[in-house]
Subunit: 419 residues, 2 copies
C-alpha cells in the first residue's frame, strides 16, 4: 500500500491505507471498529485527517498537487511533503518538546502520519484572537527558534554537513518561489491577487507600491531570502503554524522549510504577534477592553526576543569548541573577542528579524493572504484603523530597522502609534 | 578508453588515451608521429600536459586525488575536475572571448581536454613581475567578470535555475573548505603551514593574529563566502589564473568554482594587482625604476573596477525586463528606482570586493601560499618592506572598507603608503 502511486485519499480509502501500514495501525492498537476520522485541513495546501481510536490517535497530512483553496488551476508540487517531513524530523530531533513526532512518511503518496495534538491544543492565532494568555509561549518559542536555528547553522555544523543539507533543500524551490512572490513581490506591485480593506486602505496600499525606499529595502531582504543559506528555517513561522495549550507549544507545518536567513523565522513569529496586538482594539468589547491582554502580547514579544538572544548565545557558548566551522576556537575563543562576535551576530540577526517581520506584516495587510486576527473584525472601518497602525509600524521597521538597538525600542514604537 | 577507471596518466599512456578519444585525436588531425607532449603543471593540484602536433594542439589537465606539492598525505577530491569543467563550460558560453574552449571531459579519469593557449600567452603574474603592460587587461577582465557574474546571478536567472545550479555546485565542498581554511582561518591563528618573511615580519604576523577587529571583519566575509550563493564565481581569480598576451586575456583554472559572493572574484583580481604593485619596488633596478609601470598597475586597478561597474550595470539595464527574478520589472523599472537599486547593489559589491581582496592579500603574506611577485624578490629585507606595505593596506581595506566611496579612494590609500 505504501508503495502505491499517488492518489488523494478520502476518509474511506484512508482506513484501507492505515490497515496496510503497520507504523500507523500500531498507533491505534490495530483496532479499526471504533475509529473516527475527521478532515480538518483549513489551510490552503493539504488534506488533514484526524484519526482517533480507543487506543491511540494520529494525524494524516496529504499534500495534493494544487493549491486547495484555488483548485487545480494553481498547481503546487507535492514534493513539499518530503521537505516538511525532513524538517519535522530534523527540528524534532533538535527540539522534541516543541515539534510533533513523525510516525510515518510515504514518499509516493506525499503523506505524513504524525502525532495528533489533542485538545485543548488550538492554533495560537485563534487563542490570540480570543484573548487567551499563554504564559510559557515566549519561553517555548525562543527555545524552539534558538535550538533549530543554532544547530542547523555553521555555528554548529561543518561546511560539509552544511553544503549537503543546503543542496537537498534547494529542491524545495517551488515553495520558496511562492514566498518570494507573495511576501516580497506582490504587495509592492499591482496584482490581481492583492486585496486590502477597501476603500479605507486604498491610499495606504498605493503608498506601499509607490515607496521607493520601502522597495529598496524589501529587495535587500528578498536577496537574503534567496541567497543566504544561514540555517534550516521553518519558512512559515506565523501564529497559524503554532499549536498551544497553557502548558504546551508545538510548531507545525514546516513545508516551506529550506536553508535561508534565520531572521525570516524570528521575524515571522514576532511580526505576527505584532499583528495580533494591533488587532486587539477590533476585538475589544464592553466586557473586555483588551488593555491587559495587549500588555501581555507586548511582554511576549519582548520576552521572546530577549530569551531567544539569551538561549542562542548560551548555545554558542556551550558549543564554542564544537564542530561548527564559522568561528574556529583557535581564532575566536578569547572572551573579549567571543563577546564582540556574538554581539555583532545577534545585532545583525535582530535587524534581519525586524526587516523580515515587517515584510510579513505588510503582505498580510495589502497582499493576497490575510490573517484572521484582522479578518474577524467585522466592522471594516474599525478593521482598517487597526490594519493601518500595523502597516505604519511595519514600514518604519522595514525602513529604519538598523536604527533599533534593542527590542525595547520596538515596543516603544508600537506604543507610540497607539498614543 | 574514456570509460576506464581512474588512473593517473603519464606521457606514454596519455598518447594511448588520445588515440582512443576522437574528440581529442581529431584536434591533432589524428596524426601521432610528430606529437610533442610536455608536462607543465606548476600548480599544486594537477598534472597538465601540452600536446602539440603539426595539425593542432590542446592541453590535458588531469586532477589527481591529493595535493601534488604535498603528496598523498594531503588528499584532495578529484571531483574538482568535474566542477572545473562545468564552470569552464558555463563561463565559456557567457564569455567565449576570455575562457578557453573545452574539447573533452572524462568524468572517470577526471581529465579535461581544452584549448592550448599558445605563445606568447603567459601567466599574467609573470608578466606583472616582468613589468609588461597589457593595455587591454582592464577591458577584458571587467568584461569577463561582468558577464559571468551578472548572468549567473538572480539579476538574470530565475529562482528555479538558480537553486538547481546552487545545489549542484554544493558538491564542490572540499575546494570551498580549502579556501575557508587558507584564506579565512589560517592567517588569523598559529598554524604550522603559515609562513612569512621572518624575522622581519614576525611582529606583523603576530599583529594579524591579535587584531580583534580584523578577525571580526574576516568572520563576516567568511560567513558570506560560506552562505551567500550570489553567482557562479571562479573562486580563485588571482593573477596566476589569467593567461595573457597584449591582445588576449584568458581565464583558466576555475576548479574552486561554486555559487558564492561576486566580490570574492573581483576582490581576488584587484587584490592580486595590488600585490603586484607593492612588489614593484623589489623588482626595480638601475635600468628600470618601475615608476611608470606602477602607474600602469594603478590605472589598471582603477579601470578594471570602473569598467566592471559600467558593464555590469549596462547588462542589468539591457536585461531589466529579462528572466531575472531579483528585481521584477513591475516593481523596479521606474528610472529613479532603477538607479537607486543599482547604486546600492554596486556599492555593496564594491565593499565586498575590497574586503575579499584584502583577505586574499593578507593570506599571501602571512599564510601558507605566497605569490611569486614577492617570492622572486631575493633580498629578504627588501621583500619584507614591500610585503609590509601591502599588508598595511590590506588591513585598512578590510577594516574600513565601508568608508571607501569609490575606487579612486583605494588608489589614494595605496599612494599614501608609498609617500
Amino acid at each position: 500500500m505504501a508503495s502505491a502511486e499517488f492518489r488523494p485519499l478520502d476518509e474511506k480509502s484512508l482506513i484501507e491505507y492505515i490497515k496496510a501500514t503497520p507504523s500507523l495501525s500500531s498507533k491505534i492498537g490495530n483496532k479499526f471498529d471504533d475509529l473516527t476520522i475527521k478532515e480538518v485541513g483549513d489551510g490552503n495546501l493539504n488534506f488533514v485527517y484526524i484519526v482517533i481510536g480507543s487506543s491511540g490517535s494520529f494525524v494524516i497530512k496529504q499534500a495534493i498537487p494544487y493549491v486547495r483553496s484555488v483548485g487545480e488551476s494553481l498547481p503546487m508540487t507535492k514534493e513539499r511533503a518530503y521537505f516538511e517531513t525532513l524538517a519535522l524530523t530534523e527540528h524534532g530531533q533538535l527540539c522534541p518538546d516543541h515539534v510533533p513526532e513523525v510516525y510515518h512518511f510515504d514518499p509516493k503518496m506525499y503523506l505524513i502520519g504524525m502525532r495528533y495534538l489533542e485538545p485543548p491544543h488550538i492554533i495560537l492565532r485563534k487563542g490570540l484572537i480570543a484573548g487567551v494568555e499563554y504564559p510559557l509561549l515566549a519561553e517555548h518559542m525562543s527555545e524552539y527558534m534558538a535550538r533549530t536555528l543554532f544547530r542547523t547553522s555553521l555555528l554548529y555544523r561543518t561546511t560539509s554537513e552544511h553544503k549537503r543539507a543546503v543542496a537537498e533543500f534547494c529542491g524545495n524551490v517551488e515553495l520558496c518561489r511562492l514566498t518570494e512572490r507573495v511576501v516580497f513581490s506582490d504587495p509592492y506591485k499591482v496584482s490581481e491577487l492583492n486585496r486590502w480593506t477597501s476603500p479605507y486602505l486604498d491610499h495606504d496600499a498605493e503608498a506601499v507600491r509607490e515607496d521607493n525606499i520601502l522597495k529598496l529595502e524589501v529587495a535587500e531582504l528578498k536577496s537574503k531570502f534567496c541567497e543566504r543559506a544561514q540555517a534550516l528555517i521553518h519558512g512559515d513561522l506565523h501564529t497559524g503554524s503554532v499549536m498551544v495549550t497553557p502548558n504546551s507549544t508545538q510548531v507545525i507545518d514546516p513545508e516551506f522549510a529550506f536553508y535561508g536567513p534565520m531572521g525570516y523565522d524570528i521575524g515571522a513569529f514576532l511580526g505576527n504577534l505584532i499583528l495580533a496586538f494591533f488587532a486587539q482594539d477590533g476585538h475589544a468589547d464592553e466586557g473586555n477592553d483588551r488593555k491587559a491582554y495587549k500588555e501581555w502580547i507586548l511582554r511576549t514579544i519582548e520576552e521572546t526576543w530577549t530569551l531567544f538572544q539569551k538561549k542562542f548565545t548560551a548555545l554558542w557558548h556551550q558549543h564554542k569548541d564544537g564542530p561548527g566551522e564559522a568561528y574556529l576556537p583557535e581564532i575566536y575563543n578569547k572572551p573579549e573577542l567571543q563577546q564582540l562576535i556574538q554581539e555583532k551576530y545577534v545585532k545583525d540577526l535582530f535587524h534581519d528579524s525586524l526587516g523580515f517581520g515587517a515584510a510579513k506584516m505588510i503582505r498580510r495587510i495589502v497582499g493576497v493572504a490575510h490573517v484572521e486576527d484582522f479578518e474577524s473584525i467585522k466592522d471594516a472601518s474599525k478593521r482598517a484603523a487597526c490594519e493601518r497602525q500595523a502597516l505604519e509600524l511595519a514600514k518604519t521597521l522595514l525602513k529604519e530597522r538598523r536604527k533599533f538597538q534593542a527590542i525595547s525600542g520596538v515596543i516603544s514604537a508600537i506604543r507610540k502609534l497607539q498614543s
